[in-house]
C-alpha cells in the first residue's frame, strides 16, 4: 500500500505555485483539458446542420463501427505511450491476427461446429498477437532497445508472416455465421408496420418460441425481407459492443488499479518508479502484450466483419490510431493521458470521415485537419506542462 502511495505521488507532478496561477493560465489549463471534446461537439453540430443524413441513427452507428479498429489499435497504445514508449507494430499485428484467426476456421478446424471454431479462432488470433507483444516487451525492457526500433522490427516480421501465411491472398471461405457476429447487433430499431425497438435474442427461438413472446415480442426482431429491410437499423453491432466493453475495462484499469498507477509512474519517471519498488521490466512487458492484444482483437473483429482474414487490414489505419491517441491528449513524453481521450480522438476521426461524405467534400481533407490537430494537441500538452511545471521534471 505504501508502495502504491509512492507511485501515486509520482503520477501527480504538480509543482509549487499551482495556487497562484493567473487567470490566463487557468484558462489555458481548462482549454487543454476540454478542447478535444469541444472540437468533437463542434464537428457534430456542424455536420448535423450541413450534411445530408448525418444526424441519423444509422450514421451514429456507422461512426461507431468506423471507429472500432482505431479505438482498439489506440487502446493498448494509450497505455504504452503513457509509460513513455511507442508501439509501431499494431497495424501489422492486427493483420497477422486477422489472417491467423481466418486460417484456423478455414484450414485447421474446418469440420468443427461454428460454436467451437469461432472462439478457438479468436483465441489463436489474440494469442499470436500476444506473442508479438511479448517479443516487443522483452526486447524493450530487458535489452533496453528503444521501443521505436523494436516495434518497427516486429511490425515487419508480423507483416511478412501475415502475407506468407495468407499466401498473399485474402483468407476467405469462412463459416456464414461469422458474418452475423461481425455485422449483427445487440439491438434493432425497426421502422414501419412492425416498428419498434428489439433486442437481438432471436437465437432463443432455438430454445423455445415462448421466449420471444415475452415483452410483447420485443426480445426477438421480426423476420424482415425485401423492402421492409430498409426500415431496419442495427444499433451497437457486436464489434462495437465488444470494443466498448474492453474500453470501459481498460479505462477502469488505468484510473483505479495498481496496474494503471504503475503505468503512470513509469512514464512519469522510470528511475524513480524503479526506486519506489515498481516492477518496471515486468510491467513494460505486460504493457506491450496489452497493446498487441487490443490490436489483435481489432484483427479478429475485422475477420468477422468482412468474413475474411486480410494481412493489410490494419496497415491503412495504424498511424490514424496513433494520431487518435495523441489528439486525445496522451502525452508522447509519457506520464499523462486517459482512455477517454483516445476515444474522443478516434471519434473525431470517424466523424470527419463520415461527415465529409455527407457534405460532398473529398475525405482527403480529413488528413489535413488531423495533421493540424495532432500538432495542436502537442502544443496544448506543452503549454500545460509549462504552467504546471511538469516540463522541468520530465526534461
Amino acid at each position: 500500500m505504501a508502495l502504491d502511495a509512492k507511485a501515486e505521488r509520482l503520477t501527480q507532478p504538480e509543482v509549487a505555485g499551482g495556487a497562484r496561477r493567473s487567470n490566463t493560465q487557468q484558462a489555458i489549463l481548462l482549454l487543454s483539458r476540454v478542447w478535444s471534446w469541444v472540437f468533437l461537439v463542434m464537428l457534430l453540430v456542424y455536420f448535423s446542420a450541413a450534411g445530408t443524413g448525418f444526424f441519423s441513427l444509422r450514421n451514429s452507428q456507422n461512426i461507431l463501427v468506423a471507429s472500432v479498429p482505431i479505438i482498439l489499435m489506440g487502446l493498448g497504445q494509450t497505455f504504452v505511450i503513457i509509460s513513455g514508449g511507442i508501439d509501431l507494430s499494431v497495424g501489422w499485428v492486427m493483420g497477422l491476427a486477422s489472417v491467423v484467426s481466418a486460417l484456423i476456421m478455414r484450414d485447421v478446424i474446418p469440420d468443427q461446429p461454428v460454436e467451437v471454431q469461432v472462439p478457438l479462432a479468436f483465441v489463436a488470433g489474440l494469442g499470436v498477437a500476444g506473442l508479438a507483444g511479448l517479443i516487443n516487451g522483452l526486447i524493450t525492457a530487458k535489452l533496453h532497445v528503444p521501443p521505436f526500433i523494436v516495434t518497427l522490427g516486429v511490425s515487419f516480421v508480423a507483416r511478412g508472416a501475415a502475407w506468407v501465411l495468407a499466401e498473399g491472398n485474402v483468407v476467405a471461405g469462412q463459416p456464414p455465421q461469422l458474418r452475423s457476429l461481425g455485422n449483427e447487433s445487440l439491438f434493432y430499431v425497426v421502422r414501419g408496420d412492425e416498428g419498434g425497438f428489439y433486442f437481438n435474442l432471436g437465437a432463443l427461438r432455438g430454445i423455445s418460441d415462448e421466449v420471444c413472446t415475452v415483452l410483447n415480442g420485443h426480445l426477438c426482431r421480426p423476420e424482415l425481407s425485401g423492402a421492409a429491410l430498409r426500415g431496419l437499423d442495427r444499433v451497437f453491432t457486436w464489434p462495437v459492443v465488444i470494443t466498448f466493453v474492453v474500453l470501459l475495462v481498460l479505462a477502469f484499469v488505468l484510473r483505479r488499479t495498481q496496474f494503471g498507477r504503475y503505468t503512470y509512474a513509469i512514464g512519469g519517471n522510470r528511475e524513480a518508479a524503479l526506486r519506489a519498488g515498481v516492477p518496471v521490466d515486468r510491467h513494460i512487458i505486460m504493457l506491450y502484450i496489452l497493446s498487441a492484444m487490443t490490436a489483435g482483437l481489432a484483427g479478429v473483429l475485422h475477420t468477422a466483419r468482412f468474413s475474411g482474414g486480410a494481412a493489410d487490414s490494419g496497415d491503412a489505419l495504424m498511424f490514424t490510431a496513433i494520431a487518435a491517441v495523441v489528439m486525445g491528449g496522451v502525452s508522447l513524453f509519457g506520464g499523462a493521458g486517459r482512455v477517454a481521450g483516445t476515444l474522443v480522438g478516434a471519434l473525431i476521426l470517424a466523424v470527419l470521415e463520415t461527415g465529409l461524405v455527407m457534405i460532398n467534400v473529398q475525405t482527403f481533407y480529413k488528413y489535413i485537419v488531423v495533421g493540424i490537430i495532432v500538432v495542436v494537441a502537442v502544443l496544448m500538452d506543452q503549454a500545460r506542462d509549462l504552467i504546471t511545471g511538469r516540463a522541468e521534471t520530465v526534461a
Binding site: S56, R58, N59, A172, F306, L317, A350
Partner: protein, 326 residues
C-alpha cells in the same frame, strides 16, 4: 499568449471545411453515388464518363475516392453513402471480391441498388455465382485482356523466349484474371517460358525493384507483362534503368500518359487500353434504365479493349482511349 491564441484561431479556421456547391436534382430522377477503388488515372477517366452521363441525363451524382486500395478505407465511405439516405444507386469498384460482400449486402438491405464497375463480387457471375444482388458487372473481360498481351508477345517473339509478369495483389479479381489469361496464351506456345510472376502490392517502387532483380537473374528475358498502371510503370522503369529499353519488350495494361510516353520512347511496345469512360457512362445509363423499370439489363457487360502500338498511337480513333484527365 497572444501568439498561442492566434495559432489556435488559425487552426480552428482551417478546420472548417468548405461547403460544396449543391446541384439541384429533379424529383423523378435517381441520385447516384460513385465509389472507385483508389485514386488513379483509370478511375478518374471513369469519373469523366460518370459525370458526362450525369450531365447528359440530368442526374445528380456524388463521388468519393478512397486514398488507398483497402477495405478498411472503402467501407466507411460506402457506409456513409448508405447513411445519407438520399442515394438510390451506388456504382462501385469493390476493392475485394470477398470482403466487400457483407458491407454491400448491408447497402442493398437499406434499399440501394448496386452496380459494380471494373472489379466484381464473388466470382463475377451474378446469375449462378455466390453473389447475385448487383444489377450488373460492367468491366473489361480481364482473361481476354491477358490473352491479348500473351498472343501479341508470342507473335512478336516468333513463339520463343522467356517472359515475366508483374502482378499486383493475389486477391484482386481483375488483375488475377489478367495474369491467368496471359499464362494461358503463353502455355499454348511450347517455345515460350514463364520465368515468374511477382506481386508488387500495387506499388510502382516495389515493381521496379522486383523487375530489376529478375532482369539480373534472367539475362535472356525477352518480355514483361505489367498487369496494371503501377506494375507497368515499375517494369518500364526497371528496364530503362538497366539500359535494356527496346531489347526487352514491355506490355503495359492501362493507357496512362506515362505508359504512352514509354511507348513513344520505345521502352513499352504495346499498351492495352481499357475503356473506363465507357464503364462509367454505361453504369449511369443502367441505373437510369433500372429506375425507369427496364428489367432486361445484361448482368455482365465486357467493355472491350483498344490495343495501342507505336504505329497507331497518333491515330485519333485510337488516341482517344488514352487515359487523359484534364
Amino acid at each position: 499568449m497572444v501568439k498561442k491564441l492566434l495559432l489556435l484561431a488559425v487552426a480552428a479556421l482551417l478546420m472548417v471545411p468548405v461547403l460544396p456547391l449543391s446541384v439541384g436534382a429533379q424529383d423523378d430522377l435517381p441520385k447516384i453515388g460513385f465509389l472507385p477503388g483508389v485514386v488513379d488515372p483509370f478511375y478518374q477517366v471513369m469519373e469523366l464518363g460518370i459525370n458526362q452521363a450525369a450531365a447528359d441525363l440530368g442526374i445528380e451524382v456524388v463521388t468519393q475516392y478512397p486514398d488507398d486500395w483497402n477495405v478498411t478505407l472503402q467501407t466507411p465511405l460506402l457506409d456513409s453513402f448508405v447513411a445519407r439516405g438520399d442515394l438510390d444507386y451506388i456504382i462501385i469498384a469493390p476493392v475485394d471480391k470477398e470482403q466487400m460482400i457483407a458491407p454491400l449486402q448491408a447497402a442493398v438491405d437499406a434499399g440501394i441498388k448496386i452496380i459494380t464497375v471494373d472489379t466484381f463480387l464473388g466470382d463475377g457471375d451474378y446469375v449462378n455465382g455466390p453473389v447475385t444482388f448487383p444489377l450488373s458487372y460492367i468491366g473489361s473481360d480481364n482473361l481476354e485482356g491477358g490473352r491479348i498481351a500473351g498472343e501479341y508477345l508470342a507473335e512478336k517473339l516468333g513463339g520463343e523466349g522467356k517472359v515475366y509478369v508483374q502482378n499486383t495483389n493475389v486477391g484482386v479479381s481483375t488483375t488475377e484474371q489478367r495474369g491467368q489469361g496471359f499464362i494461358e496464351a503463353i502455355e499454348a506456345h511450347p517455345g515460350m517460358e514463364l520465368v515468374g510472376m511477382d506481386y508488387n502490392l500495387d506499388d510502382a517502387n516495389t515493381a521496379t525493384e522486383q523487375t530489376a532483380a529478375v532482369l539480373q537473374r534472367e539475362p535472356e528475358l525477352a518480355a514483361i507483362f505489367g498487369v496494371n498502371v503501377f506494375s507497368a510503370i515499375g517494369a518500364g522503369n526497371a528496364v530503362n534503368n538497366a539500359g535494356l529499353g527496346g531489347a526487352v519488350d514491355v506490355v503495359a495494361f492501362d493507357a496512362t500518359q506515362y505508359a504512352i510516353e514509354q511507348l513513344r520512347a520505345g521502352t513499352v511496345s504495346l499498351v492495352i487500353a481499357q475503356k473506363p469512360f465507357d464503364m462509367g457512362y454505361l453504369a449511369m445509363e443502367f441505373a437510369l434504365a433500372d429506375w425507369r423499370g427496364v428489367t432486361s439489363l445484361p448482368l455482365r457487360v465486357p467493355t472491350g479493349y483498344a490495343v495501342i502500338t507505336a504505329d497507331n498511337v497518333d491515330d485519333p480513333e485510337i488516341a482517344r482511349f488514352i487515359y487523359q484527365v484534364p
